[in-house]
């Protein structure tokens, strides 16, 4: 199945059924949602079968699409822009503005599609066991399925409106899922907080979309014939040199504010830890592949807009890098003071999202997308592992200090998958996190942000340390509380008093409200003490852990160019693509490219004459040749413009060869001539073993230090260390600063809300008492006086006179007209015809 590209036939690209029909992927779970809602309760598995089957179908289609996409990419040379498969139908149109709905399938969407569908499938399977017997079981699956549908829709979205649709769908479903056990007041508060915090950011999404639409619509309509909402149109527009810097900066900043809200970046990250109030599978889904990734995805999707708007690769620190860097450190520091295992993971997610944002801000597009990919697997595994512990070992508690410890003997599978994922998260060498996180840190340094590279390394140190602490508290040492088989009946009260978020009380909610039999069964397994979870829980864990170990090898520059598969498949190539209707002045192209070399001074000079790069460069060309030879399809139909572009491309390659760049195009640095760019030219830091060694060394340092500290603190109960925060004022202040989450919640709730609400209410009260009451009282008095006068004069004399007069005159008139109503039909007829005759006469006279 081949289809020529619709524009000037440049390159014949492979396509296929799965690619052409990828828009079906989000429709499957959306349909399943309605099936669950309407028929779920009558089904043998209470509706979960619809959800699971739909996710499997989506996964199968995503994998099919991924396979065909790889075929498509392999069919062309390494610098050809691989056209995304875009289909669009008119959704509605009004007065020349028409809005499409469709699909925009490229490497990025395929990557996220596969991740989302895969994690969603596993989470749904896991939930059948984890939420077994819950009384809103069917509704849970319905929301979970719709949630995945929202994310999938956002990923395949062809334009911004469709993207917003998916985005808001996720916001709604996250509200429903976080508040799944809404009987507990804290849970519904957490759901509201998540919803409102992300809504705050969403204002930015609407503003940004509108700003970009009005700025871009003319250009995109004229040049590409698509609306200013289209993602493809916006990408091309951003790099075309047409946008004014004010418009695109405002648009990009507004959109980024939405990403801050959705992706839990500082300072709107506070909703994310509270979102732990939801059931653990929800946390797992929310924090690995959907929802929080949405913001990062939006930046990656509209990268050209952010690239131009935020001046990425510019000389100054841009907004995205700054926010990302701040988020990494503050979230990682917060993870140290949590006793709740899920909150440690939540802050870890915030911190990892900070890495992704920082990477995107520093131009490390591919490492950031790759980090979404790997992070999804190991973070889902960690969350599901925490769920497994609470489900089977710790009597539905998530408190590491009270109810865990020593679990490695009881839960070997959970323990080993946890260790694998922790190592992946910390970025230890063969695990997946190493390949993505280290690339981000490396590229941030390469782009010139030395300070933020150090921030990234420090973040890696903190990550290793807090994960070691969590692992130690959970799996090592002596079993405590519920993990020791202790069954406390008063647990509910205890939780109510000490846990202001109360999510870990859900077990009681799910069970205590159920039948008595269920409660007995619950007591029964609690008295057995900790044990390993069943297959439905452990199999997803094992699958995820395998991917946490192995997925990093998809893009492993450590082993040479041949291992950089994701770069080849996913990264959009920055080629100037000709568009019918744009004249192409010959020669102008080469000149701009010559100029491009000289503007490239922001790149640090250390890589200019490295022998490794020369080798790397050579390999690139040879692989490219073999690919071209092997492929059955290659650039067959090349029109003039394309060959010209290739000519100047090779010209610039010689130019850029000195810089060690691979395939160099001036997209993003110069205004494209004779065509449009859909992606900026990205830089890639060359892999260096000493850099990787350094970061892995830092990780191990963090682990060892943390381990030693944990042993001293929690097992030996070293007198010097235990209670240090109470004795030392500086440390105590630091601890309470962290324990209160930097007082951000206080800031939002007490200061911002109060400073806005209180003066307003006070002013309103004063206004009410003095102005309004005065007006009301004055109005009352004067009304009474006026009313008296009116009564005496108007009412009694004028109105009554008029009414009486009307009555009298009506009576007289009636008496006069009485003879007409003779009751004789003939007389009535005569009157009728007489009137008609007079009317006719009048007409005749008028018409003369």
């Amino acid at each position: 199945m081949f289809s020529a590209s619709t524009e000037a036939a440049e390159v014949i690209l492979k396509s296929g059924w799965f690619l052409e029909n990828a828009f079906i992927i989000p429709i499957i779970p959306a349909v399943a949602f309605f099936l669950i809602i309407f028929f779920g309760k009558k089904m043998p598995m209470k509706g979960s079968e619809f959800g699971i089957l739909s996710m499997f179908a989506a996964l199968a289609m995503s994998l099919g699409a991924a396979y065909q996409w790889i075929q498509r990419v392999n069919g062309v040379s390494e610098e050809t822009y691989v056209k995304p498969i875009i289909r669009s139908w008119t959704w509605w149109q009004n007065d020349g503005v028409s809005l499409g709905i469709g699909q925009h399938i490229d490497g990025l969407s395929i990557t996220i599609l596969v991740v989302v569908a895969f994690i969603s499938s596993l989470v749904q399977i896991y939930s059948t066991e984890y939420l077994h017997g819950d009384r809103r079981y069917t509704h849970f699956f319905a929301s979970l399925t719709l949630f995945s549908a929202g994310m999938l829709n956002m990923v395949v979205a062809e334009n911004m409106i469709q993207l917003i649709l998916g985005w808001e769908l996720m916001g709604l479903c996250s509200f429903m899922l976080i508040g799944h056990w809404w009987e507990e007041g804290a849970n519904s508060r957490a759901a509201l907080k998540a919803f409102f915090t992300t809504r705050t950011g969403d204002i930015g999404l609407l503003v940004g979309t509108s700003v970009l639409f009005f700025a871009a619509n003319d250009w995109t309509q004229k040049t590409l014939g698509v609306s200013g909402f289209s993602i493809r149109g916006l990408s091309a527009w951003a790099l075309s040199g047409d946008p004014s810097s004010a418009a695109i900066t405002v648009g990009a900043v507004a959109l980024f504010i939405a990403c801050i809200g959705k992706s839990g970046q500082f300072p709107l990250h506070t909703w994310l830890p509270d979102a732990m109030a939801g059931p653990t599978p929800v946390s797992s889904l929310l924090h690995s592949s959907t929802m929080v990734v949405a913001g990062v995805f939006l930046v990656a999707r509209l990268y050209p807009v952010f690239y131009e708007g935020m001046n990425i690769y510019g000389n100054s620190v841009n907004f995205i890098v700054l926010i990302g860097g701040v988020t990494i450190v503050i979230a990682a520091a917060l993870a140290f003071v949590q006793t709740d295992i899920k909150k440690v993971l939540a802050y870890s997610t915030v911190s990892q999202l900070g890495y992704m944002m920082m990477g995107l801000g520093a131009g490390a597009w591919l490492p950031a997308v790759f980090h979404i990919f790997t992070h999804a697997f190991f973070k889902a595994c960690l969350f599901l592992g925490a769920g497994s512990i609470s489900h089977s070992a710790s009597h539905h508690s998530f408190d590491m200090k009270k109810d865990m410890g020593g679990l490695r003997k009881f839960m070997p599978i959970t323990f080993s998958t946890w260790i694998v994922s922790t190592l992946a998260l910390c970025g230890v060498f063969p695990f997946s996190g190493f390949f993505s996180k280290d690339e981000i840190i490396d590229n941030v340094g390469y782009a010139g942000y030395n300070f933020f590279m150090i921030v990234g390394l420090f973040g890696a140190f903190l990550t290793a340390a807090y994960m070691t602490r969590a692992t130690y508290l959970t799996f090592f040492g002596e079993p405590r509380g519920a993990a020791a088989g202790e069954h406390h009946d008063d647990e509910h009260d205890a939780h109510a008093s000490h846990d202001d978020h109360g999510h870990d009380a859900h077990g009681h909610d799910a069970h205590a409200h159920d039948s008595h039999a269920a409660h007995d069964a619950h007591d029964d397994h609690a008295s057995h003490g900790p044990r390993e979870s069943g297959l439905i829980i452990t199999v997803p864990l094992i699958l995820l852990a395998t991917l946490a170990l192995g997925s990093g090898f998809l893009n492993a520059p450590a082993f040479g160019e041949k291992w950089e598969n994701l770069k080849k498949w996913v990264e959009p190539r920055a080629e100037v693509v000709s568009v019918t209707g744009i004249a192409k002045p010959a020669g102008a192209h080469g000149e701009t490219r010559l100029a491009a070399g000289s503007t490239d001074t922001t790149v640090p000079s250390e890589e200019t004459a490295s022998p490794e790069e020369v080798v790397a460069d050579g390999t690139t060309y040879s692989t490219e040749d073999t690919v071209a030879d092997d492929s059955e399809l290659r650039t067959t139909a090349v029109d003039d413009s394309h060959s010209e572009a290739t000519d100047s491309g090779s010209h610039s390659k010689a130019e850029a060869g000195k810089d060690g760049g691979h395939h160099y195009s001036d997209c993003g640095t110069k205004t494209p001539v004779g065509g449009v760019c859909y992606a900026p030219q990205l830089k890639h830091a060359p892999f260096k073993w000493w850099k990787a060694g350094m970061s892995v060394g830092i990780v191990f340092l963090g682990m060892i230090l943390s381990w030693l500290l944990c042993v001293q603190l929690y097992t030996r109960k070293n007198k010097k260390l235990v209670g240090l925060t109470e004795r030392n004022k500086v440390l105590g202040a630091g601890y309470s600063f962290l324990a209160n989450k930097y007082y951000l919640d206080t800031l939002y709730e007490k200061i911002i809300v109060r400073s806005i609400a209180h003066p307003i209410s006070r002013g309103a009260y004063w206004f009410n008492q003095n102005v309004l009451d005065g007006i009301v009282n004055g109005a009352g008095t004067s009304t009474r006086k006026t009313a008296g006068w009116v009564y005496r004069n108007v009412d009694q004399k004028l109105v009554d006179g008029a009414v009486n007069g009307a009555g009298t005159s009506a009576e007289n008139a009636g008496g006069a007209l009485q003879p007409v109503q003779s009751g004789k039909v003939n007389q009535y007829g005569a009157l009728l015809f007489g009137a008609a005759a007079i009317g006719a006469l009048v007409l005749v006279i008028i018409n003369f």
């Binding site: 007209l817 009485q818 007409v820 109503q821 003779s822 009751g823 004789k824 039909v825 003939n826 007829g829 005569a830 015809f833």
Partner: protein
């Protein structure tokens, strides 16, 4: 064309009809007079339709005939009821509406 003659015929029929409606005391005869009026209108419609060469007048006349049939149906039913209740169809007896 003999438009004038048609119009004259229509006018004469109309006047006879009006005379009948006003003068006659018998309800059945009043109804018949109303039929005359309606048919005089039909003649006018047809005359102008033929003159203008458009079928609108014909169509309209058909409608008038249909409505007239319905009207006569209702009218005769009323007359029948009147007769049953009062054993008379004289309109002079029906003066309960006198104000």
């Amino acid at each position: 064309m003999l438009l004038n003659q048609f119009l004259m015929l229509g006018a004469v029929l109309f006047c006879i009809g009006v005379y009948g409606v006003i003068v006659r005391k018998n309800a059945v005869l009043v109804l018949m007079s109303i039929e005359l009026i309606l048919n005089s209108v039909n003649i006018n419609l047809l005359a102008f339709s033929l003159r203008n060469g458009s079928p609108d007048g014909h169509t309209f006349a058909l409608y008038v005939i249909a409505v007239a049939a319905a009207e006569v149906g209702v009218g005769l039913a009323m007359v029948l009821l009147m007769y049953r209740n009062r054993r008379s169809v004289g309109l002079d007896d029906l003066s309960e509406m006198k104000g």
